[in-house]
């Protein structure tokens, strides 16, 4: 990420004048908003001071050393950089969020470090600017945004490189892919031969200029030639269709497999950087775009280009004047096509927008159908949908009307040249300066020149669509997995000792989520992890599972750095249950034995029993063969959770991880799962995150995380004695439970009293 922008001359002069000799310029960032106007100003940060410079004027200076509370605030339509200067919060500058927020976040950090070092009496003159390796979202060359979620600039990408890669990928199907080109060459040749033969037939047999018809046998030969050429061409066409279908499918299959394999090998971090839709798009749409381009569009363009290049000189030689006629309408046609194309595109896009909107609406309503029905809003939803559908159907109708007028008219225009040719040619024929057959031949060649012209306007668009897709696909294929096995990873059999040492980690490097975390966990211990939401509990677990690599420090399992253990071995010996359980479409059995596909029925049942899931599974008519997942039997949250637990333990993991596994359950179900877990945690290292402290009552030790730091670690008794955060938490929950109990007791008492009173009154009335 760029943290040192170049100042314009005038601004630089101002800054140089303002800085004293001792200062060193560390960072220079743009700010874009000043007094309600868009501007192009710069903030210069030296090792002691911040300077705000705009258009060759120094607007303000503030000290860095001695100021505090540096921070960025995200506002509406912009962001602000604030600091407490001389005891007073001050807005230092305002900027556009998307481009510069990460930069200013680094500056916040840098200013804090400067102050820290200054307080430690370190000579701040010796400090070096911190650097940050987060990639830019914008092409450094042209400033345009990268294609969504990539680092590809569609303007600056190397197109030759892509063609080269594409060529390398066609290994094995090249011969088949050449076929369309062979066919193309033949078809071009025939396109030339046929008009020539036809011309000959007309000139010598049908309408000879000298009035003498050639012999019948010659005519028959010509007819046979025409017929056999046609047959041959059709046969070629069939062959081409088949070959390109085969080649195309092979190509796509190969591409998709490569992509999918690659996706599986990428780390969670690189997958999560992109949305599911984006990745699915790359595997499905982008590969199809590439297929179409390679097996169908490329040969077509090739044919068109060859035809054009050959037909033009032939036409020119035959009759240069008529050749010129061909070009008369061309500038006009190209101009109009370009114009009309935009218009057509706009209309198509509008239609697309309207129909997507209708689609979204439908999707939304179907997903939320329970809510709609619960609140009795069916009428309104029907209205909304109707309105949206009507708009899109109106648009569709008007598009169809317009297009059906435009395109025939355009065709007419394009043919204008050939009318000229016919007119002029007829004159020549009339004056016996040209034979009729020759006119036919020329007219055919002229048409051959027109067809490619129609394509020219499409080519840039096709190529750019293809380029975008191809570069998106190649980006994935070439990504270096950032969590990688070392050369010779160790396959150890884990005992369960975990040692986390001075670990610092952030999803974005400038924003650490965990700071200097150290914990030692003995084999077989159950550790409860508590802390606010957002304090980094799940993150710690992600690191232990090595879904991400630590930024600093190390994590060891059984004295071996987890980076040296093969990922398969590591995760094969861990079992994980998360709060949001995901069941794949398939049977309960399949889901339980997901991590051990060849588990026996006995093992499946044992795991289900251990997870207290057996009984509810048996209540279903299809037992373990019941379909679950998207389309199948819908299970309750607790039931899903228990299946997930069974899945986590079927391979008898040495390390069991429970991330708020029971948070969404009612107390009774939780009790069931609790019991299940008590059985499970014996002889395994267990890490359990929970909000309800009662869930953790079996824990050997508790780890309290606060804002990404370990604030307490020890046994229940030790922590209670310490009276830290954990103690407060316990007190708070105890108090809450007591409040509930007391409230219930009071209510019961009141009811009892009321009943007694009523009874007494009744008795009194009766008496």
């Amino acid at each position: 990420m760029k943290l040192m922008y170049d100042l314009p001359e005038a601004d630089k002069a101002v800054l140089d004048a303002a800085m004293d000799g001792e200062e060193k310029l560390m960072y220079c960032l743009p700010f874009t908003i000043y007094e309600d106007k868009f501007v192009k100003g710069y903030m210069a940060f030296t090792n002691t001071t911040m300077y705000k410079i705009l258009d060759g004027k120094l607007l303000d200076t503030w000290p860095i050393i001695g100021s505090s509370d540096f921070k960025t605030e995200v506002m509406y339509g912009c962001c602000g950089f604030y600091a407490k200067v001389n005891g007073s919060d001050t807005l230092i500058c305002q900027f556009v969020s998307g481009r510069d927020l990460p930069r200013y976040a680094v500056i916040v950090k840098a200013c804090e470090i400067l102050n820290e070092q200054h307080q430690k009496k370190v000579d701040i003159k010796t400090l070096k600017p911190i650097t940050n390796s987060t990639p830019e979202r914008f092409c450094p060359k042209c400033g345009r945004p990268y294609i969504n979620a990539t680092t590809i600039c569609p303007y600056c990408m190397d197109k030759k490189e892509i063609y080269k890669k594409l060529f390398a990928m066609t290994k094995g199907i090249r011969l088949m892919m050449c076929f369309p080109f062979v066919v193309a060459v033949f078809s071009v040749i025939f396109q030339f031969v046929v008009p020539w033969v036809e011309g000959k037939a007309i000139n010598e047999y049908i309408n000879p200029s000298n009035g003498v018809h050639g012999p019948m046998s010659g005519f028959v030969v010509i007819v046979i030639a025409i017929v056999s050429i046609d047959l041959f061409q059709r046969a070629l066409g069939v062959a081409q269709g088949r070959f390109s279908a085969i080649a195309g499918n092979k190509f796509t299959l190969m591409l998709k497999t490569l992509l999918y394999e690659k996706l599986q090998s990428l780390s969670l971090a690189s997958i999560q950087r992109r949305t599911t839709g984006d990745l699915m798009g790359r595997v499905n749409n982008d590969t199809s775009v590439m297929q179409t381009f390679v097996v169908s569009q490329l040969p077509t363009y090739f044919i068109q280009a060859v035809t054009f290049v050959l037909a033009l000189p032939v036409l020119a030689v035959m009759n240069w004047r008529m050749c010129l006629f061909v070009f008369v309408p061309i500038p006009l046609v190209v101009f109009i096509v370009a114009k009309v194309w935009d218009f057509v595109q706009d209309r198509n896009r509008k239609l697309w927008v309207l129909s997507t909107r209708t689609g979204y609406l439908l999707h939304d309503i179907l997903n939320g159908i329970r809510v709609v029905k619960c609140f009795g809003q069916e009428e309104r939803e029907i209205e909304r949908f109707k309105e949206s559908s009507i708009r899109s159907s109106d648009q569709s109708e008007s598009n169809a009307k317009i297009f059906d007028t435009i395109f025939p008219l355009l065709g007419l225009l394009i043919r204008f040249g050939s009318y000229l040719i016919l007119l002029y040619g007829n004159m020549l024929v009339f004056h016996r300066e040209m034979e009729l057959g020759t006119l036919h031949q020329i007219n055919s060649y002229a048409n051959m020149v027109y067809a490619p012209l129609m394509y020219i306007t499409f080519i840039p668009r096709t190529i750019s669509t293809f380029m975008t897709s191809a570069s998106k696909v190649f980006e994935i294929l070439e990504e270096e997995p950032d969590v990688q096995d070392i050369g010779l990873p160790i396959d150890i059999s884990i005992e369960g000792e975990i040692d986390v040492k001075n670990v610092t980690f952030g999803y974005e490097s400038y924003n650490p989520v965990l700071e200097n975390v150290s914990v030692h966990i003995n084999p077989g211990e159950m550790i409860g992890i508590v802390g606010h939401s957002g304090s980094g509990k799940s993150t710690l677990i992600n690191l232990i599972m090595r879904l991400y690599d630590v930024n600093e420090g190390e994590i060891k399992i059984d004295e071996v750095n987890i980076k040296d253990i093969s990922q398969t071995a590591l995760r094969g010996q861990m079992g994980v249950v998360l709060q949001e359980t995901f069941l794949f479409s398939g049977t309960i059995q399949d889901n339980i034995r997901y991590s051990k596909p060849f588990a026996t029925e006995e093992e499946v049942i044992r795991a289900a029993k251990a997870a207290n899931a057996h009984d509810f599974i048996m209540k279903m008519p299809e037992g373990y063969n019941t379909l679950v997942g998207e389309k199948g039997y819908s299970l309750s949250g607790g039931e899903r959770q228990r299946i997930a637990i069974a899945r986590a333990i079927i391979h008898d993991p040495k390390i069991l991880i429970l991330d708020e596994a029971t948070a969404s359950l009612d107390t009774e179900t939780e009790k069931l799962i609790q019991d299940a877990l008590t059985k499970l945690v014996k002889n395994r290292t267990t890490l359990a995150i929970a909000h309800r402290l009662s869930t953790l009552r079996n824990a050997d030790k508790l780890l309290v995380l606060d804002h990404g730091r370990v604030s307490e670690f020890g046994t229940h008794a030790e922590l209670l004695k310490n009276k830290g955060i954990y103690w407060k938490l316990v007190m708070a929950q105890r108090k809450m439970n007591q409040d509930v109990e007391r409230a219930q007791a009071e209510k019961a008492a009141a009811e009892k009293a009321a009943a007694e009173k009523a009874a007494a009154e009744k008795a009194a009335a009766g008496a």
């Binding site: 309600d36 505090s68 339509g77 407060k728 007190m731």
Partner: protein, 233 residues
């Protein structure tokens, strides 16, 4: 300068302490009430003695109150932001060096329901709401001006005056326009979700950088500008 800082942090600690005390106060009565009808545990006794109870995990102790001319005095802070002197319902006066004023309905109702909050800080985490202002006009002109100054800074959505060009390239729209805050070029993806037409006819546009632009009334745009944006509406 280092001294300066120390003094400051001492001040803020004091402020924190004050808050804790306040927060602990109502709890005490709660617990005392409990003590009377239940046998107290040992831990509980300690809880009662401790002033610090209810910190951190038990946050949410601040209760938001309606702010009016009577109980809240807003002034310009030394840093040119807003300071608040608040008289709480129990008569206690609390001072804030800086408060943040935010709109609950920035688009549909910008001048009512303002939320006055403590700023977020690294030390104390997210700032809490101090109180809400029902109508901005409940306050005198000078205060309203102060609010508007801050709000105009926080809510930066220039109005489009003239759209010079809109180009569609590689799935992005490149805009070139004149706004009330000067000439801009900006880039937008997915116009379908980033151009919103409100019920009252206003148009709100978001670009990929987080800029927000507004067209108060699309029918008042000149014809060429309107044509450029029409297809996305």
């Amino acid at each position: 300068m280092a001294e300066d800082k120390k003094k400051k942090s001492a001040e803020s600690e004091k402020a924190d302490d004050k808050e804790n005390k306040k927060a602990a106060a109502p709890e005490k009565t709660d617990d005392e009430a409990k003590k009377s009808d239940e046998k107290p545990k040992d831990d509980k006794k300690e809880l009662l003695d401790d002033d610090d109870a209810g910190d951190l995990i038990l946050e949410h102790q601040r209760e938001s109150i309606p702010l009016t001319r009577e109980n809240a005095v807003f002034t310009r802070s030394k840093g040119n932001l807003i300071s608040l002197k608040l008289t709480k319902p129990d008569g206690e006066v609390e001072e804030f060096e800086r408060v943040v004023v935010m709109r609950a309905f920035p688009i549909s109702n910008p001048d009512e329901f303002l939320s006055v909050r403590e700023p977020d800080t690294k030390r104390a985490g997210q700032g809490h709401e101090i109180g809400m202002i029902r109508h901005m006009s409940d306050f005198d002109d000078a205060t309203q001006k102060l609010f508007l100054e801050e709000l105009d800074r926080r809510y930066f959505s220039p109005k489009l005056i003239k759209i010079l060009s809109v180009k569609d390239k590689f799935g992005y729209l490149y805009w070139d326009a004149e706004t009330t805050s000067g000439h801009v070029t900006f880039i937008m993806n997915n116009p379908f979700s980033n151009i919103r037409v409100l019920d009252d006819g206003r148009i709100i546009m978001h670009d990929i950088d987080g800029n927000v632009f507004e067209i108060p009334d699309s029918s008042k745009l000149d014809k060429t500008s309107f044509k450029k944006i029409e297809i996305y509406l």
